[in-house]
């Protein structure tokens, strides 16, 4: 201390800084030599560690609905009844997906063994798998298990041949419409996008509604979902099969983007739609200010519950999304929803597997469908009469065409950002359609092929 005290100010500063940085580098060099047993656990069909029928599990899940009873606690009690020796401890995660993910990344990359199982977004498998933040699940389940799910869902949870998440419940985009207004104007439910655009603009011009068609155009992940739906309906794709190039600067991409912009310029959608996320668009529709809405499956129960607030109870119809003329019908709906993942550091992977297997079994999926109106991921449950009778959204789930977001690459976050920032800029009129698409393409290509900010 005395030596340090005696040194001159500046050199002392340098010395302390040098010691600190060296210490940190040494510490990390040491820690990086220890390899995690979970990371080297190969997918060769070996049995998971721990006991399959007893133990404590911590389940990290954000709230699924806002009404009581809470589906998470209902499912946990049913599970504990089936497996009395496994106790599940629920940890409520932040509702914002990004905050949720950041929290998980901090926890798991710090090596924590808890939570054991976490409910995560469907777009996380590639990112989490690439960074070792989720345990590969392929070896723990037989292939018959994976094929029980609706098509496309397991593929969305796969990265480099390994499945990282078990589809828990699913979500898609639907078209909600005011059937009373359509009846009044003798309009049929639109099945093509241009038809919807003219119907919406007409209703606005007649003064029957303030907004014609509302959707999610804010600069965030939801815009990528919306854009993928138009792109898929136009027959296009976002990435090539090798995931090395963006393919959205194509005739299909141009058609989709042009249409989105024309929605605003024709008056069918308000210019404010560039700031709408789910909450704002839902509220606009439910308070009777919009005639058409594109939203997830919760739009039905929200609009039919007067206390949401909603003034359109009994006036709402739902259908699959429209398509473009000359393309396959109906239009494509983007896949959303949540999977169940296992923390690679979990101390009781066998019990986690039991938990996941039960949560994705017909018993649990039926509870989700019939009691909580969530779209089940297991195909047989989706198509069961009980679930289909629950509400009009569940009834038409089988009639939709699905399109996933291009989340198979670990760089998906940057890919999505390239899409939604440029499309949002185009919607606001700050960039041209071709300019936005080529900017998005070059940004996606650089994200896929090199690293950058």
């Amino acid at each position: 201390m005395k030596v340090i005290a005696a040194m001159r100010g500046r050199s002392r500063l340098m010395l302390i800084a040098a010691i600190g940085v060296t210490a940190a580098l040494t510490a990390t060099a040491c820690s990086s030599n220890t390899s995690s047993p979970a990371a080297t656990h190969s997918a060769s069909g070996s049995a998971p560690s721990g006991s399959a029928t007893s133990g404590n599990i911590t389940w990290w899940a954000s709230p699924i609905t806002t009404t009581s009873p809470d589906p998470r606690t209902v499912l946990i009690s049913a599970f504990e009844k089936a497996y009395p020796n496994i106790h599940v401890n629920l940890q409520s995660a932040p509702t914002d997906t990004d905050t949720n993910r950041a929290s998980l990344i901090t926890t798991i990359s710090g090596g924590a063994s808890s939570p054991d199982v976490f409910m995560g977004d469907v777009i996380w498998p590639a990112q989490f798998g690439h960074s070792g933040l989720a345990q590969p699940l392929s070896s723990y389940f037989p292939s018959s298990y994976w094929s029980s799910f609706a098509p496309g869902l397991v593929q969305g949870a796969t990265y480099k041949g390994q499945v990282y998440g078990a589809p828990f419940f699913e979500d898609q985009g639907f078209l909600y419409y005011r059937k009373d207004l359509l009846a009044k104007e003798h309009m049929a439910v639109p099945t093509t996008w241009p038809q919807l655009e003219s119907d919406a603009a007409a209703l606005v011009h007649k003064g029957l509604v303030k907004y014609g068609y509302v959707w999610q155009g804010d600069s965030y992940e939801g815009l990528t979902c919306n854009f993928m739906e138009y792109l898929g309906s136009a027959g296009g794709s976002a990435l090539n099969s090798g995931l090395t190039q963006a393919t959205l600067n194509s005739p299909a991409g141009t058609e989709a983007a042009n249409f989105m912009r024309s929605l605003i310029t024709s008056g069918a959608s308000p210019s404010a739609v560039t700031t709408f996320q789910e909450a704002q668009s839902m509220s606009a529709f439910a308070t009777g200010q919009a005639a058409f809405l594109r939203n997830w499956d919760y739009g039905w129960s929200y609009s039919q519950t007067a206390s949401s607030p909603s003034s359109v109870v009994g006036k709402v119809g739902v259908s699959p999304l429209p398509s473009f003329p000359g393309q396959a019908s109906p239009g494509t709906s983007n896949i959303g929803g949540w999977n169940l993942y296992i923390n690679p550091h979990s101390k009781n992977i066998a019990a986690d597997v039991t938990f996941i297997k039960w949560m994705t079994s017909p018993a649990a999926q039926t509870i989700l469908g019939t009691e909580f109106s969530e779209i089940p991921t297991v195909q047989s449950v989706r198509q069961s009469a009980a679930v289909k009778a629950k509400n009009p959204v569940l009834a038409i789930v089988g009639d939709t065409r699905l399109i996933p977001r291009p989340a198979q690459t670990p760089a998906y976050a940057k890919v999505s950002q390239a899409i939604y920032t440029n499309i949002n800029s185009m919607l606001a009129g700050s960039t041209s359609v071709s300019g936005a698409l080529s900017a998005a393409t070059s940004q996606i290509n650089s994200a896929l092929n090199s690293s950058g900010l």
Partner: protein, 281 residues
């Protein structure tokens, strides 16, 4: 009691008063909006056009916040963490601020600059290594997981503030105390601190508020529901696609009450400190 005449000031005061009145309105209106919205029924919170005054008045937002979202637990946690951290900061900060401000330490400017550098470092960058450190010690999901980092990160600012106010105190008082035989701690306690009361108040209120509202570290270190603080608890309101503004504002109204109480408690002390300063020759 101030009997000074203010002839020269009167004109200026009026202009300043008017400007301050405008600022006051600017501050009060959004506050009113938040409180009013907290008392609207959940349906009317999203009403368009918005209601200027809640009608009917409803406390359902408050009941939802406390029952469905265990908000009371979060309040208790926040209070514990903030109070302990503030006390620690004031005690340690006073000692260090006195030393760095009034004692002839060589290299104190270096220390102050290092402290500055530390308080400046973006929390985002240090959250991950700090998490790993806390995990290795086994302090995750506890009160000390937040109290210790908060104390460490908010001490530099407190030291700077306290030092600034300590330095303004004339040295003669200290000299006379020393001649009377008082040691350093006594000097600090009976001479320095009473003089720098406003500085203590400022440092204290800053630290308390910073602890009360800190988000990133609280989110990362205390994930268990038993130890969550208010900012993190609030992040759990609603569901993925809804922002329950009514419940949020109700929670905010409740969260603000302790601060208001604190200021009221300290108000008299600050006033007495001010008058003592006026009387001092």
């Amino acid at each position: 009691m101030r009997n000074r005449s203010r002839h020269g000031w009167r004109r200026v005061v009026n202009g300043v008063n008017l400007a301050a009145l405008l600022v006051f309105i600017f501050i009060a209106l959004p506050l009113y909006w938040m409180v009013a919205s907290a008392f609207k029924t959940p349906a009317n919170v999203g009403a368009s056009p918005p209601q200027a005054f809640p009608h009917p008045l409803s406390v359902s937002n408050f009941t939802v916040a406390f029952s469905q979202n265990t908000f009371g637990r979060y309040i208790i946690n926040s209070v514990i963490v903030a109070v302990v951290a503030t006390v620690l900061v004031l005690v340690l900060g006073s000692l260090a601020g006195y030393a760095l401000g009034r004692l002839p330490m060589r290299g104190r400017f270096t220390v102050l600059v290092i402290l500055l550098m530390i308080s400046v470092f973006p929390v985002i960058a240090v959250v991950v290594p700090l998490y790993a450190l806390l995990r290795d010690i086994g302090w995750l999901n506890s009160y000390q997981a937040l109290i210790i980092p908060y104390t460490a990160f908010y001490l530099p600012f407190a030291i700077w503030i306290l030092r600034n106010y300590f330095m303004a105190i004339p040295h003669e008082m200290e000299e006379s105390a020393r001649i009377d035989g008082a040691n350093a701690l006594r000097t600090i306690w009976s001479i320095i601190l009473p003089q720098a009361w406003p500085g203590l108040f400022t440092a204290g209120i800053f630290t308390f508020t910073a602890c009360w509202t800190e988000f990133l570290m609280a989110l990362s270190f205390n994930v268990s529901n038993d130890y969550r603080t208010i900012p993190v608890g609030v992040a759990l309101f609603g569901s993925q696609f809804t922002v329950p503004y009514g419940t949020l504002f109700a929670a905010s109204v409740v969260a603000v009450v302790p601060i208001a109480i604190l200021v009221f408690i300290f108000r008299r002390s600050v006033v007495s400190g001010l008058t003592a300063g006026a009387v001092k020759g």
